[in-house]
Structure formats: C-alpha cells, structure tokens
C-alpha cells in the first residue's frame, strides 16, 4: 500500500525553534499531503504538494518533495506551543493511508 512513514516518531523543541519532519513512501505518487492532529481529534489538512513540485510554502510551513528518493519533509519555522500535535503524511491514491505520524512537542 502507498503508506507514508514519518520520521522521527517524536520531536521535542523549544518555542521559536524550527521543527523538521520527514516522510518516506514506497511507490510513485500523484501528490503528497501533510496533516495535523491535535490529541483526541480528527486530522486537519495542512498542505498538498504535487509530484511535479519540489517545494511549497504556506505561512510558517515549508514542504519539500524529492520523488527520486521517494521522500518529503515538513518544516515548521518559528514554532509555537500551539504547534504541539501529531503530524502525518499521506500519499494520494484511491484509498488514503497514513503512517504513525511524528509527535511534535513545542515547549513554551
């Protein structure tokens, strides 16, 4: 299955620092998406990057995609305590699948 796998599993940083999370996948894709999940809630879509794009920005988020390495990274700049959440990547197919996510903790 086209399941994204996030790395690291957990990340703890201080407020103001940047956070980088990585995602690897196995097969060719049309696009890759990043989602955020606050504890006990549903996932919220953050950003989508198409297979012909290499980098995309949205506010403090920067996503890169390397289709030759089948990997993507999500960078959150100038992190805030409110960014504390789990972050998931997913590759698009007829049936969306998610990995275990990266649990980000931003300490005030």
């Amino acid at each position: 299955s086209q399941q994204g796998e996030e790395d690291p599993q957990a990340l703890s940083i201080q407020e103001g620092e940047n956070a980088t999370m990585n995602c690897s996948y196995k097969t060719s894709i049309n696009n890759l998406q990043w989602y955020r999940q606050n504890s006990g809630r549903g996932l919220v879509h953050l950003i989508l990057i198409r297979s012909n794009e290499r980098e995309k920005h949205s506010g403090r988020l920067r996503v890169t995609l390397d289709t030759s390495k089948k990997s993507s990274s999500l960078l959150i700049t100038a992190s805030r305590a409110a960014d504390t959440a789990s972050y998931f990547c997913a590759t698009s197919d007829n049936d969306m699948r998610f990995g275990a996510g990266t649990r980000l903790t931003v300490k005030p």
Binding site: G42, F88, M96, F98
Partner: protein
C-alpha cells in the same frame, strides 16, 4: 471547519451490544473512509467507499460493516462489540483535489 459530522462523540457500551457509528458530510464528496486509531498510534484504514452502493474493506481486519445508501451518509456498524473494539474511529471524505476532511471522531469504550 469541515462539514463532516460524527455521532456519538463518546460511547461506552457493554460486550455483545450492537452499535452504529454515524458519519455524514454535506460537501457532496463521493469518496469516504473509516479509520481506527488507538491513542498516539497510526491510523488503520478499515473501510472505504467510492460512492453510493460502493463499499470496500481496508487493511485492518475488522468485524465491522458499512453501508453507503446515500452520498452524504456512511455509517459503520459493529454487530457484537468486544473490548478489543475499544478505540477511536475517524470518518473522512475526500474532495476532488485529494484533500481529506475528517470528522471529530467517536471514542468507543467496550466494557
């Protein structure tokens, strides 16, 4: 806020009971999904649908069933709940641009 709803939000029931978790969306999306997620763990795809009268099983072996009689409605049923079914159940629908919209989830506890 996405227009996708799940009820109930929390449910505590005894073993052997039949339950139905409701999911509805008002966005007209054809594709809908059910995921099971234990706290802090990955999401497991248990069922999905491409549209009315379409239902498919996902990766995780599940004793639940789903139906898709109307576009907006995708209920999940457990015929006989067991403690191993205790988990959070997330429903989602997918837009044409591949964006998935998730409901708030149902946290199920089976005693």
């Amino acid at each position: 806020e996405a227009d996708i709803y799940q009820t109930p939000r929390y449910l505590v029931i005894g073993t052997g009971k039949k339950i139905t978790l409701e999911c509805s969306q008002t966005m007209g999306h054809d594709k809908m999904y059910w995921y099971q997620q234990d706290p802090g763990m990955e999401l497991h795809l248990i069922h999905y649908s491409y549209g009315v009268n379409s239902t498919e099983k996902g990766d995780l072996s599940s004793e639940s069933t789903v139906s898709r009689i109307r576009t907006e409605h995708f209920p999940l049923t457990l015929e006989s709940a067991r403690p191993s079914h205790t988990s959070q159940y997330l429903c989602a629908s997918r837009a044409g641009d591949y964006t998935q919209y998730f409901g708030p989830g149902t946290r199920l506890t089976v005693l």
